[in-house]
């Protein structure tokens, strides 16, 4: 079977993310060696928090997109980081999050809260600008025009419910 998988042109490599409500945490990603994302402020619709947790070291950070430190961070994760983790579990499944961050937890059925409790890191400063610009880049896709000309390369990318 492994051989057949390796000889296949159309095998799925990245499982599609699961649908989730985006109002509170519009952006979550496992990238650049971090779980990182953007959390909308509950009180000011123009303000967002940029939160991240590093893989392996579990160093965490949270600040506004203008680099003002989050008031909720006092040597331990704030509620924005809690939300980030909850949504990451919804989006990717606990399995992928545990593997990416190298958390020492039984992944089956793990909740965001359990994963937060397994963090061993301390507060670090991560430049919010990097993550925020990735979010803006992400949003910019929605501003690109569509096309009515065929993209034959997409035969390699079937839409699929089943990922083996």
């Amino acid at each position: 079977m492994a051989n057949e998988w390796e000889r296949s042109s159309a095998v799925p490599v990245v499982p599609p993310v699961r649908p989730r409500k985006l109002a509170k945490v519009p952006f979550v990603e496992l990238a650049d060696g971090r779980l990182q994302g953007v959390v909308s402020s509950g009180s000011d619709i123009a303000r967002v928090y940029v939160s991240s947790i590093a893989a392996k070291t579990h160093g965490f950070s949270c600040s506004t997109n203008n680099n003002r430190p989050c008031g909720g961070l006092r040597g331990r994760p704030c509620k924005h980081l809690d939300s980030l983790m909850d949504e990451a579990v919804l989006q990717y499944g606990g399995d992928r999050v545990v593997r990416y961050l190298h958390l020492d937890v039984e992944p089956a059925g793990a909740t965001g809260r359990q994963l937060m409790a397994a963090l061993r890191g301390t507060q670090v400063s991560t430049p919010a600008a990097t993550v925020f610009s990735r979010f803006l880049h992400h949003l910019a896709y929605l501003e690109l025009p569509g096309s009515n000309e065929p993209i034959p390369e997409l035969h390699w990318f079937p839409s699929s419910v089943a990922v083996s």
Binding site: S8, A10, L22, H155
Partner: protein, 460 residues
């Protein structure tokens, strides 16, 4: 399509095994990187060069293998190697397609369009893309890490912003996302060896000046009878490819209409229809099973309509199964554009009837055919359960990993003693199923939240 026709298709391999072995040798070199070829992989490349020797590419491929084996890896050498791999797969594609045409009795047009003019647009963007692909080839998949993947970001962003390079952009973005998700690849247990070599090769071909140039379309008018819709997607794009039959002057002919939209990974499932709402006439025809009257719609020589909603209007009701039974057997197929000759692009509409099915295969009078279960889209009502309960389907014949597959686009199935017809495009105007309506609310919410965030944050 009859069981005997399927049997004839599956029993003949037309000598493609030898070509696939040569391709596997090249793909293995990409796994470990051209900087670390070693004796065994160098001799696999030499075999590739020997096989190409009598072709017009022969000399260039021979020289490329020599230089690359000696450690000099230039753009032109990689291009020659990619060309050799593409030519081999082109030959495999042609052999498979002629088997299929023979088994189904399908007539196919010959490619007659003139080669596009040599274009010189966007030299820097194409050079940037080639340079990243070269780094990948030197490092090999095993040597790819976060830095190498991130190295593509700037080029990618610039390529994405250029509509003329959309095909390349979509491909590079898809490949980069897979490499990012898999990094560090050195520790991966197994690699999608064939797939990544396919994507790398096609990307390098599309990074040549003029590769994206398309031949001139001709305007066509007549009635379009829809067979079904195939859905393609990765994190940042969704494409609908509608297969249908155009009745105009002359024989009915198979055509496709493709519309696509950029998206992000969190817009999945039912939400994707929302992104394609500007093609209302097309979506309406999919959801309501109507034919369309086309007036002066541009058609490319490869059988692709350049869709324009203003040049189509709804016609009468037209059951795709009736179309497949009565019109499909006499429809002729378009020629395949030379650069698109790869087995992964084979997607030929067929009708299968009177079979028994499981969720992994159908049995047509004693001949088994595997179901492409990985191609049932997230945004439609077609499920593996429905396929297992079906006795007839309109599907696309595909070929992957050495075997033929059927990808259902629509099935006739018996559930709870009632017979139902279920099509991929049934939810094009919103779900018709109560459970799906709830899921849709969540999906639509995703699109509006992100549009609101984009409106507020991108312009401040």
């Amino acid at each position: 399509m009859q069981g005997t026709q399927l049997k004839a298709l599956q029993e003949n391999d037309s000598g493609i095994t030898g070509a696939l072995d040569l391709i596997a040798g090249f793909d293995d070199a990409l796994v470990h990187g051209f900087a670390r070829l070693g004796e065994e992989r160098a001799s696999a490349l030499a075999a590739l060069a020997a096989a190409m020797a009598v072709t017009p590419l022969g000399e260039r491929v021979g020289e490329a293998v020599e230089k690359v084996s000696a450690g000099s890896i230039a753009d032109e050498h990689l291009m020659a190697l990619a060309g050799a791999r593409a030519a081999l797969f082109g030959a495999v594609h042609d052999a498979l397609l002629s088997l299929l045409d023979e088994a189904t009795g399908r007539r196919r047009a010959l490619w007659a369009a003139p080669a596009g003019a040599v274009a010189t647009e966007h030299p820097n963007l194409l050079a940037g893309s080639r340079s990243w692909l070269r780094e990948l080839a030197i490092a090999g998949w095993r040597g790819v890490d976060h830095d190498l993947v991130s190295g593509a970001a700037q080029t990618l962003q610039a390529v994405l912003a250029e509509p003329a390079l959309r095909r390349l952009a979509v491909l590079l973005d898809g490949l980069a996302a897979e490499l990012r998700a898999a990094s560090p690849i050195s520790t991966m247990e197994r690699l999608p060896v064939r797939r990544w070599a396919d994507l790398w090769t096609r990307a390098l071909l599309l990074s040549q000046p003029g590769a994206a140039a398309r031949p001139e379309p001709e305007p066509v008018s007549g009635r379009l009878l829809i067979l079904g819709v195939d859905v393609h997607e990765h994190a940042t794009v969704i494409q609908l490819q509608v297969h249908g039959i155009l009745e105009s002057s002359g024989d009915p002919r198979l055509v496709r209409a493709s519309v696509s939209a950029p998206k992000v990974d969190t817009i999945v499932g039912l939400a994707v229809w929302q992104l394609l709402q500007q093609h209302k006439v097309l979506l309406h025809a999919l959801a309501r099973h109507t034919s369309l009257k086309l007036t002066e719609m541009p058609l490319l020589p490869g059988g692709d309509l350049i869709w324009d909603d203003d040049k189509a209007r709804p016609d009468g009701e037209a059951d795709p199964f009736v179309t497949a039974r009565l019109v499909l057997p006499n429809a002729s197929a378009p020629a395949v554009s030379p650069l698109q000759r790869h087995p992964a692009g084979i997607a030929e509409p067929v009708l299968l009837e009177g079979y028994t099915a499981t969720d992994v295969s159908v049995n047509v009078s004693g001949t088994e055919l595997t179901v492409a279960a990985g191609r049932l889209p997230l945004c439609g009502p077609l499920t593996r359960e429905l396929v297992a309960a079906s006795t007839a389907c309109i599907g696309l014949l595909r070929w992957d990993a050495g075997r033929w597959l059927i990808q259902p686009l629509a099935v006739q199935a018996t559930t709870k003693k009632a017979q139902v017809n279920v099509h991929n495009g049934d939810w094009a105007q919103g779900p018709t199923d109560l459970k799906a309506v709830k899921t849709e609310a969540k999906a639509l919410d995703a699109v509006s939240v992100l549009r609101e965030r984009a409106g507020r944050l991108l312009r401040t």
